[in-house]
């Protein structure tokens, strides 16, 4: 990873770490949400941005992790173990699901993921003995860490998610994932084990949302099926990753910051309008700026050497 980017990342982290020292509760709460969205958008980026397989149901990992963590805390386990548990349960869900859908080409994965969140919500509602159904579970604030701790935990998740994406992006594995995104058949033909690649990326992408779900419950101290499996969470993470620039390291960070900022300033009070704008933004980005905002900064001039040293003067096919 280029040194300039590392320096930039460290500066961001230092700035974020100062938050609780200088900001009010309101600012902390806002930043905590922002970190959560960065963590989620990066996770989505890991599977969808890198491989081109669109996940419309990543919120399900968030929700499943949230429940797993909540139940652990409720049973008296320490919160760090609960976070770990949330992460592992999300992982445990992703393995069979990925195996089922990712060995196939095409839209099967998208189709299976789109319904996952809703089914998970139904199961959580019906499995009353475990989840207390629609009434949800309230955790006693006394056993939960204070806001500042949750703040740093969420920040840590955002950082870890970004580091995972950066490591993958600059690795041989990441190169293989991008080849899958560009042309899966050709990738397989030059030795890429595409099924294993996709599955690994998918499982990795489920870890962080599971943990983030738990931390979010530690912050709000309440969970029910609709808050855990909120479909608008899917829309948000997708729009943020796409708007910033999917398949890049910094795109989702940029996208989450811009979209969260807009939300806070302009349309927090109008949920329907807010979602409509998110949908329109997604459409606009997909149609007119597929590389996202970040491509405006990183787009290099096409470096085509002046002289066609190979004497190639044909039209491009």
């Amino acid at each position: 990873m280029p040194a300039r980017q590392i320096a930039f990342g460290l500066a961001l982290v230092a700035l974020a770490a100062l938050g609780p020292l200088v900001g009010s509760q309101y600012h902390q709460a806002f930043l905590l949400q922002l970190f959560m969205m960065v963590a989620l958008a990066q996770s989505w980026n890991l599977i969808s941005g890198m491989t081109g397989y669109v996940s419309f149901g990543h919120a399900a990992f968030f929700g499943v992790g949230a429940y797993a963590g909540t139940l652990f805390i409720q049973s008296g386990f320490p919160w760090w173990l609960a976070i770990l548990n949330g992460s592992l349960i999300a992982l445990a869900l992703s393995v069979p699901l990925g195996f089922l859908t990712l060995r196939l080409r095409g839209a099967y994965f998208a189709v299976a993921m789109l319904g996952l969140n809703e089914v998970a919500r139904i199961v959580a509602t019906l499995w009353v003995s475990l989840t207390n159904g629609g009434s949800g579970i309230t955790l006693q604030p006394a056993i939960l860490p204070p806001l500042t701790v949750n703040y740093y935990l969420m920040l840590a998740l955002a950082i870890v998610a970004t580091i995972i994406v950066a490591r993958v992006y600059h690795s041989r594995f990441g190169l293989e994932l991008r080849a899958i995104r560009e042309d899966e058949g050709a990738a397989e033909m030059i030795g890429v084990n595409t099924t294993r690649g996709k599955l690994t990326a998918f499982v990795l992408s489920a870890l962080i949302p599971g943990a983030a779900g738990t931390v979010n419950v530690m912050y709000t101290s309440y969970i029910n099926p609709s808050s855990a499996f909120d479909p608008s969470l899917n829309i948000q993470m997708i729009v943020m990753a796409m708007f910033g620039g999917s398949g890049t390291v910094w795109g989702p960070v940029l996208g989450a910051s811009i979209v969260m900022g807009l939300r806070e300033m302009l349309w927090a009070q109008y949920p329907a309008l807010h979602l409509m704008f998110l949908g329109a933004m997604l459409l606009a980005v997909v149609l007119f700026l597929p590389g996202g905002i970040i491509s405006l900064f990183t787009r290099k001039k096409v470096v085509r050497p002046e002289v066609m040293s190979t004497g190639d003067g044909e039209r491009r096919g």
């Binding site: 299976a112 789109l114 809703e118 829309i235 459409l283």
Partner: protein, 293 residues
């Protein structure tokens, strides 16, 4: 348990399932038609259906127009809307990676859904234009469901015959099966795609108009239906028009039995469980048709 295995109850569940299945079949075959022709999964398909349902609702509450008559206004209108959406949006993503078209139609579905909320709020609506039941011996058919199923079948079969018998329909199938050959043969593929999307919209619009008579619905109701559609097209084979018809009927019946034996809430999850089951056993669909590549 004995009570539930009563042949009358089983028969009643079967009838209910077939009636619901006919509507699903109409809806899902439109989705599959689009997928077959341009390899685009229209995630906004259920929102097209709701455009039809709210259209029928407005015509009924404002002018007292019966949904069966509203069909003559709603269906052409949604056809036009589909044509326009293809022209303005979807045409730009045809032939691009699947990620692009999926995200574009996903964005469209969110926009339509929330415009719906802004206009109609999230409250449930219904069009109680038709009431009463037909009684055949021991079996009871609620009139609105029977009519909805009948209209759905007529529509689906009509489109099927159009594709099989007419010159234009054959052109649509040619584009679906051999796009390059179709271009060489002088078929205006862009026009065919707009026709296809319009046709799929019209089918969704018809399904929505029928839906308005039998279910209560809100702008958010699309999520359930698109999930059912996905299960159906995976069961029937992606891109296979007739496969979606069978798949729709099958899902309707299975749902009815799950609802009858377990609970209606589990019935909502049935589509997804069927989808997973099919992916487990026979990923290319029970009809073994065209696999998405």
């Amino acid at each position: 348990m004995e009570e539930i295995l009563d042949p009358i109850i089983l028969g009643q569940l079967l009838i209910g399932g077939l009636l619901a299945g006919a509507l699903y079949a109409l809806l899902a075959s439109g989705l599959n038609l689009v997928f077959g022709v341009m390899r685009v999964i229209n995630i906004a398909h259920a929102e097209f259906m709701l455009v039809g349902a709210f259209g029928a609702y407005v015509l009924y509450t404002a002018f007292g127009l019966h949904p069966l008559l509203a069909l003559f206004i709603v269906v052409p209108a949604v056809f036009g809307f589909g044509w326009f959406v293809q022209h303005a949006l979807v045409e730009r993503v045809v032939g691009q990676p699947m990620l692009t078209s999926l995200l574009a139609t996903y964005g469209l579905s969110i926009v339509l859904l929330n415009i719906g909320v802004l206009i109609f709020t999230s409250d449930f609506k219904g069009v109680p234009a038709l009431t009463g039941s037909l009684v055949f011996g021991e079996f009871v058919l609620p009139k609105p469901r029977a009519v909805a199923a009948l209209v759905s079948i007529v529509f689906a079969v009509g489109v099927y015959l159009f594709l099989e018998r007419t010159r234009l329909g054959k052109a649509v199938r040619a584009v679906s099966e051999h796009p390059h050959v179709a271009t060489i043969c002088g078929i205006d593929t862009k026009r065919i795609r707009m026709l296809t999307f319009g046709l799929a919209g019209a089918m969704a619009g018809a399904a929505g108009t029928m839906l308005s008579m039998i279910y209560s619905f809100a702008p958010e109701s699309g999520a359930d239906f698109i999930q059912k559609c996905f299960a159906i097209i995976v069961i029937g084979g992606m891109g296979n028009f007739a496969g979606a018809l069978y798949g729709g009927i099958l899902l309707g019946v299975v749902e009815a039995f799950v609802g009858g034996f377990l609970s209606t809430q589990w019935a909502e999850a049935t589509a997804y469980l069927l989808l997973v089951l099919v992916l487990l056993i026979r990923p290319t669909g029970l009809k073994g048709a065209a696999l998405a590549r």
